[in-house]
Amino acid sequence: MVILFNAFNGLIQGAFYALMAVGLSLILGLNGVINFAHGGFMAMAAYFAYTLIPYVGFWGALLIAPILAGAVGYVVEQLIVRRLYLRDPLYSLLATFGLALIIQDLLRTIWGAQGVPLTIPDFLNQPLSDVYFFITGYRLFVVALAIISTIGLFAILRFTRLGIRIRAGNSDLETIAAVGVNIYLLRSANFVLGIMFAGLAGILAAGQIGLTPTMGDELIMPSFVAIVVGGVGSLLGSLVGGLIIGVASGVTAAVYPAATEVIIYVIMGIMLVARPRGLFGQEGLLE
């Protein structure tokens, strides 16, 4: 029974990892940037939401804060990330790593190191039943949103001109540049889209756990692992990867709690040895 609970709980957790990983995966795919500042953007959007809630309510903030974070993302892309596209990925890795530290310190300076409570609507903040006490309205809402936004993203990628270009760019950037697509504009749009996903995940996380300047640090590693397991460059892979590590760490908690964190890295290690491109990844994307 406990194992079943934990497996189910792991699915909920995994859906959440997946939501975080999708934005990261988008940016990695088309922009070729391993965005270490993703956690920073998550926390930033959550702080935006915290500040906005008294004025526009939780739902308003959930809509506006990711857009604001996306706007900051646009500026960052224009000023920093764009200049590094032609360079080795190591450059953008270092740049975004520095950026992560800068964002964290900015948040600490503006909102203070002390955590702040992000209040979620009362009706979501209850367990749905006494037996399945770990399924709260809020967690179901997070899962639903993760599913809807992923389907939405797939629809954009499949049916819109922008999406088709993003996918085309993913497989051969030079060719679509040659046929006249403005790849700089395309990559800016893609970066902003990825940051907006980060923002959404950040707000949802802050509603469930505490909101502190360092919250991104704790959440970013599982999303990286989800991408590696699922396959670099594949959105579906990130989704499945997130679910796998969520369930794995949930079940581990029932058997040997101290290993819940290490288990996801063990899975990543096995994956890197047995199938380096991940479950659904393209071969040699980052080589």
């Binding site: 029932a254 101290a258 964190e261």
Partner: protein, 420 residues
Amino acid sequence: MSNQNNFRGEIGRRGLIKAGAALGAASLLYPPKPSWGASESPIKIGMVDSTTGNFAVLGQSTIKGAQFAAAEINKKGGVLGRPLQVLVEDDAGSPGTGVDKASRLLDQSQVDFFTGTTNSAVSLSISQYAAAHGKLFVCSGGHVDKLTGPACNWATFRTCSTTWIMTSGNSGTLVKEFGKKWYFLTTDYAFGHSEQDDYTKQVTALGGTIVGGALVPVGTPDFSSYLIQARAAKPDVLCLLLAGDDQINAMKQITQFGINKDIHIAGALFELEQIAALPQAAHYGSWSFEWYWDQPNVPHVHDFAKRYAATYGGQYPSARSWFGYASIHAIALAAEAAKSTDSVKVAKAMEGLVLPPEVALQASAPVYRPEDHQLMLGMFPGTVKPAGKYPDVIKVDAYIPGATIAQTPEQAGCKMVYPS
């Protein structure tokens, strides 16, 4: 694409080395921040504590308390007629960084004494470093028992409580009022292990049983899987032995799952800073507080709280602020008594030092015990007020003088040796 490969070759060796060297050089240029104006020959206290990382909030409160004390001392003419300077360095909650920063304070700023630390692991490493380099270290905030037990040394004193003092502050009441079946959620490092050992000993001695427990890695964002385990064990008391931001995450999820409705939530350490970060619904539980700003009928306390809040924009002093405050005052008092800044002499003077009422700020007069250098501070077992508004959030049930619940020096297991 071919020039990309050239780039790759360069970043691999020279570029990376250059970047690394530049980073290293830049950090050397950062001078430690003085909290007192420059003077002829100030007495320097090197303070290593967290201003970033998981313990940043607690570290910053400690630093504020220390700087507040230094300002008070300097206003009254300093120590031995010299100004007192507190030089702060960030340990980021990591023992390695802590020792790096301590050695920088010693080599570059020639500090006379050390204080600070919030993470017990950092406390232990700075304690070793200080003793090896012949400098006094007054640990303000690392609770692990063995710092003034088997790992004690002549140079190390401690202002905050041991985990034993903290846990025995409320273990008796909890077993009596809420039940004998206990479950632990424990942070997985020295501090948590020490707390859990102490509670286990005390609860079993009172006839209770431990029905389970889980060690939780530091920085765990999601506690749902642990909480499923905990509830399945059906304990009377769910004992949270977490630290820093982890406690906040756990408390928030416990509320969301409604677990605090049928299981009593308790623990040793719970801080004013953490309560402030929690939504109203997560204000619950029984804890062993180490100091509180609201102690009616105890002289000097309200005056101190008011002056502190005026200095720091309405922020009230927490237990952490008091640790920093008392540690700096203790060093100053001991140096005055020793009429010297020599660490060995000051350490001798600090043995048996009784904090005066305006520094102790509690109903008893705590002493730095000579045998193990542990301050006998009192405990304030109590509960979080469910409808309390900051800063009035804690209901203190009792005040228990530390000397009545501390392990004897023999039980603590300290053998004090001075350098010959």
